[in-house]
């Protein structure tokens, strides 16, 4: 028996996979970015489907509002975005195909080997719980990873500033 939730899962997955495929096969680089965007929207809707609202919102903020906009800007600034990309040469195609089969194989074996246990307890997705977990120092807290990520981001920010800073005239 197919109920609405199962049907919507397949619809979302089909949407996600179709646009993912289109993103890698598109001839124009800008179109490719837009298809990537749609496939990321598909992931966000899968999170919504699973009732993980916080994760879905973060997916939209980070990927759609941040990364895709950044990708589009870099396309605008660097590429001749209007014309079609040149066809890939044969040796690269073969290499890419081999790599994809390899990657698919790894993921497929991982999925087959993992025993997924069905949980019966409903997940606590209350924002407060997430917030406290993120900053708690206890056994199941995430304070250390949280701080590590902030240091990483700080380093990235300093790197950007160093690259972007204007050279003062007269100094090398």
């Amino acid at each position: 028996m197919m109920d609405a939730s199962v049907i919507s899962f397949y619809v979302i997955s089909a949407f996600l996979l179709t646009f993912g495929l289109m993103a890698v096969t598109a001839k124009k680089i800008f179109r490719s970015a837009i298809w990537l965007l749609f496939s990321l929207v598909g992931i966000a809707s899968l999170y919504f489907w699973m009732d993980l609202q916080f994760l879905a919102a973060v997916q939209i903020i980070v990927y759609i509002g941040g990364i895709v906009v950044l990708i589009i800007f870099s396309i605008f600034l660097t590429q001749d975005s209007g014309s079609a990309l040149p066809r890939a040469i044969k040796s690269r195609k073969i290499g890419a195909a081999l790599l994809s089969v390899f990657g698919f194989g790894i993921i497929a074996t991982l999925l087959a080997r993992t025993a997924f246990v069905e949980t019966t307890t409903p997940m606590d997705v209350e924002m407060k719980t997430i917030g406290f977990k993120m900053l708690s120092l206890g056994g199941d807290g995430y304070a250390l990873p949280f701080e590590l990520v902030s240091i990483l981001l700080l380093a990235a920010m300093i790197g950007c500033i160093v690259i972007a800073v204007k050279n003062i005239p007269g100094k090398p």
Binding site: A56, I61, G65, V69
Partner: protein, 337 residues
């Protein structure tokens, strides 16, 4: 399942109707407010005092030909206005129009709003690129830079209210204003965030004085230069609906949404205020904020792009961050009313 479908259909139809009515009312309001600011009459021929003017405009836009430029990326060109509209429609979900009338009271409420409002920038960038026009591309890039940077300030202003209420849920934020709206109870820091919020959302909706994305005198019409007919109308409609949405969010966070004007524990006064229906409170506050944003347009001259980015990164963002810190201290010490 059938009831769910029926409910979904009814809500969908209501939202579409609200969109159409909002478009008509807000465009008319914009023209009348502009006229009032410039001491002229404004539209006054179609219908009583020009009240059917926007209806006539809509009919004109519907019957116009929708042109597609020759070198354009046809599919994306046609898709872009719908992406912008789609973003505006998604934002309608968590807005409380009156007591107990909210489509979806999500757990993450205001975070959802911040997230979804970033979708419209994609539509604008798409429109600018696919038009194959330099003005459009320049307009889109300006708009992108502007929206991405002002999102931060708006987000910080929203977070400062979340710090006070301790919840992201819209219904809880409104319930916390039962004894007075945050703008009065939270005094100085809330006032600062309110000002930052209004400035940031004016920039995010590409309104004057931050309308560099369209800048008629420099870029013809910015990202929608090549659009005509109904597709142009969609951009236009989305712009006005977005103004409504950001003002509704501002009213909800700072002015209590549908919550009537209450003062502490003055039971008699509060009870008297409750006689005014909650929908009137909500729409009254929202339209007041819309009026303020329209007022800006005729008060401030347009900024240059570098001035605009300086304003955000050198003034609003540091002030916003400092204000958030201040707010946290005040919330922890309980120094609000």
């Amino acid at each position: 399942m059938l009831t769910t479908l029926t409910e979904l259909t009814i809500v969908g139809i209501l939202i579409l109707t609200l969109f159409a009515v909002l478009g008509l009312v807000l465009v008319f309001m914009e023209r009348k407010v502009s006229a009032y600011m410039q001491i002229r009459l404004g539209p006054n021929r179609v219908g009583y005092k020009g009240i059917a003017q926007t209806l006539a405009d809509t009919i004109k836009l519907v019957v116009k030909e929708g042109l597609t430029p020759n070198g354009a990326d046809k599919f994306l060109f046609n898709l872009a206005p719908f992406i912008v509209m789609f973003g505006a429609m998604l934002l309608m979900a968590p807005i409380p129009f009156a007591r107990n009338s909210q489509i979806w009271d999500l757990n993450i409420g205001v975070l959802y709003i911040t997230a979804v409002s970033s979708i419209s920038v994609i539509g604008i960038l798409m429109a600018g690129w696919s038009s194959n026009n330099k003005y459009s591309l320049l307009g889109a890039m300006r708009s992108g830079a502007q929206i991405v940077s002002y999102e931060l300030s708006a987000g910080l202003a929203i977070i400062s209210i979340v710090v006070l209420t301790g919840s992201l849920k819209i219904s809880e934020i409104i319930a916390s204003q039962e004894t007075g709206w945050w703008i009065f109870r939270g005094h100085i820091p809330v006032l600062i965030s309110f000002v930052i919020f209004i400035i940031a959302v004016t920039a995010e909706t590409n309104r004057a004085p931050f309308d560099m994305a369209e800048a008629e005198s420099e870029l013809t019409a910015g990202f929608h230069t090549e659009y005509s007919g109904m597709r142009f109308a969609l951009f236009f409609l989305a712009e006005y609906v977005n103004i409504f949405i950001v003002c509704a969010i501002g009213a909800t966070l700072f002015l209590g949404g549908w919550m009537p004007f209450h003062i502490g524990n003055w039971a008699g006064f509060n009870h008297l205020m409750d006689f005014i229906p909650s929908s009137i409170w909500f729409f009254g506050k929202t339209f007041f904020l819309i009026f303020v944003i329209m007022w800006f347009r005729w008060t401030f001259p347009r900024l240059r792009i570098d001035q605009l980015l300086n304003l955000e990164w050198k003034y609003l963002l540091p002030i916003g961050m400092f204000n958030l810190l201040l707010m946290t201290i005040i919330a922890i010490m309980g120094w609000y009313f």
